[in-house]
């Protein structure tokens, strides 16, 4: 096998991402030729208004959302797996998505019927508030409990607790409300308009920057917290930085796109296999690119190009994500070896 350098691999993924971007804008219920896409971007007049509207108001925001959401989830997963030294950790293990669900459930199911333009905003805010409350609780516990395994279990318990409240709320809600909530849980990157993206994108970029600044501590954490501390790492500071970064990334994606499953878990593993590295200065860009690529791909598949139907995004990521994780485990025999 030809062995490619890290830069060649990153470049390759970058090119793949650009191709998928074009494909994602071009494919959908209506096919738009690639030539027309370039014409719209260069301001060329001869393209039909319909194509231009579809691209500027639907396909482009959706594509950009997928790219940022995928990158955010992949990177959040990487941080959690290294922090908890657990190959099965993901942003959702901390209970962040359950917290977000609880926020949304309280809003939708408790019948605080907000409609119109405010609806998507209140939904997003409720979800972010829900996720940050769970995050703050986990953070509080993390300051007093040194052991990452315990923190992981506590995160799981927070998740179970909030899910239970959501179930109770669902039980007492009207069919319409349950349907609204259910649609949110299906996951979609197509719900954001340009205005909402002005919040979505900066929050993700902030989360990525905070996370990237932890790349060196993440490398040290590979040896475990004791070794990391003996090398001069300030464990509490780093842990708080990682939890803030993860919750910004996973929280804002869950708020605007619903709880998207499997991506945060699978992307870091694929990155480690492709790049054969444990160095986070390589793995961070790798998970960002691979996360974007995978979510774009899932989104293109969910569109069922040429058909007037859309599959729930969450179903597609699970349909592909679950076998990928099983394949990874079978292939490597022991995921914790590959993990790192």
């Amino acid at each position: 096998m030809i062995s490619l350098s890290t830069y060649q691999k990153l470049l390759g993924l970058g090119i793949l991402l650009l191709l998928l971007m074009l494909l994602s804008i071009s494919l959908g219920s209506v096919y738009i030729p690639v030539n027309d896409i370039f014409s719209v971007f260069t301001g060329n007049e001869h393209v039909s208004n319909a194509s231009s509207t579809i691209i500027m108001h639907y396909r482009l925001p959706k594509t950009i959302t997928s790219i940022f959401a995928g990158a955010a989830l992949g990177f959040a997963g990487l941080q959690m797996q290294t922090l908890f030294r657990n190959p099965l950790a993901g942003p959702f293990v901390l209970g962040i998505s359950s917290g977000a669900s609880l926020g949304v459930a309280l809003l939708v199911l408790a019948g605080i019927g907000i409609t119109g333009a405010l609806a998507s905003w209140s939904l997003a805010i409720a979800s972010i508030v829900g996720s940050s409350i769970v995050l703050l609780l986990v953070l509080l516990v993390s300051i007093n409990i040194k052991d990452s395994m315990s923190l992981l279990l506590i995160g799981l318990m927070f998740g179970a607790f909030t899910s239970a409240i959501v179930s109770v709320l669902q039980y007492f809600s009207s069919a319409d409300d349950i349907q609204n909530f259910l649609f949110w849980t299906f996951g979609s990157t197509g719900n954001l308009n340009w205005f909402e993206m002005r919040i979505f994108i900066p929050v993700i970029i902030l989360g990525i920057i905070i996370g990237y600044l932890q790349a060196k501590p993440l490398n040290a954490l590979l040896l475990g917290e004791n070794y990391a501390q003996s090398m001069g790492l300030e464990i509490k500071k780093v842990r708080i930085g990682l939890v803030i970064s993860t919750s910004l990334l996973a929280g804002v994606v869950t708020a605007f796109c619903g709880p998207i499953a499997f991506l945060g878990l699978a992307v870091p593993h694929m990155s480690r296999i492709i790049f054969k590295s444990a160095n986070h200065f390589i793995l961070v860009p790798a998970t960002l690119l691979l996360g974007s690529i995978l979510l774009l791909l899932c989104d293109i598949i969910a569109q069922l190009p040429g058909i007037d139907l859309i599959l729930p995004l969450n179903a597609v990521t699970s349909l592909f994500g679950a076998p990928v994780v099983i394949w990874l485990i079978v292939k490597r025999k022991n995921l914790s070896r590959n993990f790192g």
């Binding site: 060196k216 040290a220 590979l222 040896l223 003996s230 001069g232 444990a278 914790s336």
Partner: protein, 252 residues
């Protein structure tokens, strides 16, 4: 003609675990000294507090009472980075680095010396090179750390601690899990490092015979008694060794 200088001192040190107002003291009234260029072996039964002492000296665990001074300065007033530049560790914690190579593992020793991007300078590369050479692991530098043997891994971990380049290295049972030959090789390596680099190395071990033969100084830990310190010769002559390890005479 002892030219060694004092690096680490403890005064009335008590170690153990605190839970609320309840204290579980393992060792107390410890008056210890680590001087440069010495190999010190900490001996004692299981559960007597050897690992706790090492963890406490390393600042991984709070002490209960007393002072720990490095170069005259209280350890708790060091920043984590400053402390890491003075002291490095080899622990018994399992290493699960995944794709990490031996070279990358040793390079991690430079952590407290590099900036946020972790970029190694020429000086850092030299220190890493020197550490790998001293420990004789150049030939496996590209190997993945889960591919190598326990003996090789132990040498790599010692090289990592050496690359960190503090005056003191603390090793918690570095010869555990190793076969007889590798135990000797690792001890010999530590002895050589003390002589050639002038660093002070403190290890906890159950290899009494080897400690008697190779250590410059022994620290003997017994339950609810102050630590006894001294050179192997001194402690043998005072019959302390034969009292603490009666099996030694039976083997001979």
């Amino acid at each position: 003609m002892d030219k060694s200088t004092n690096i680490l001192t403890t005064k009335n040190l008590a170690i153990g675990y605190k839970k609320g107002s309840q204290k579980n003291i393992l060792l107390e009234h410890c008056e210890l000294e680590i001087t440069t260029g010495k190999l010190i072996c900490l001996l004692g039964a299981n559960g007597v507090g050897k690992s706790t002492l090492i963890r406490t000296l390393a600042g991984l665990q709070p002490k209960i009472e007393g002072e720990i001074l490095i170069k005259g300065k209280e350890v708790s007033s060091f920043s984590p980075k400053e402390l890491a530049r003075n002291m490095s560790l080899v622990l018994t914690d399992p290493i699960q680095g995944g794709n990490l190579s031996v070279l990358e593992l040793v390079q991690m020793g430079r952590y407290p010396h590099t900036n946020w991007s972790g970029k190694l300078t020429n000086n850092d590369h030299e220190k890493v090179n020197y550490a790998m050479e001293q420990c004789g692991i150049h030939y496996i530098s590209d190997a993945n750390i889960f591919e190598i043997s326990d003996g090789q891994l132990q040498k790599a971990l010692i090289a990592r601690a050496l690359a960190q380049d503090g005056e003191i290295m603390l090793l918690d049972e570095p010869t555990v899990h190793l076969d007889a030959n590798n135990r000797f090789i690792v001890m010999q390596l530590l002895k050589k490092l003390v002589v050639e680099t002038g660093k002070s190395i403190l290890i906890s071990t159950h290899q009494v015979e080897m400690a008697l033969g190779m250590a410059d100084e022994l620290w003997l830990a017994n339950c609810e008694e102050p630590l006894i310190t001294g050179s192997p010769k001194e402690l043998i002559e005072k019959n302390i060794i034969s009292k603490m390890f009666p099996y030694l005479s039976e083997i001979r």
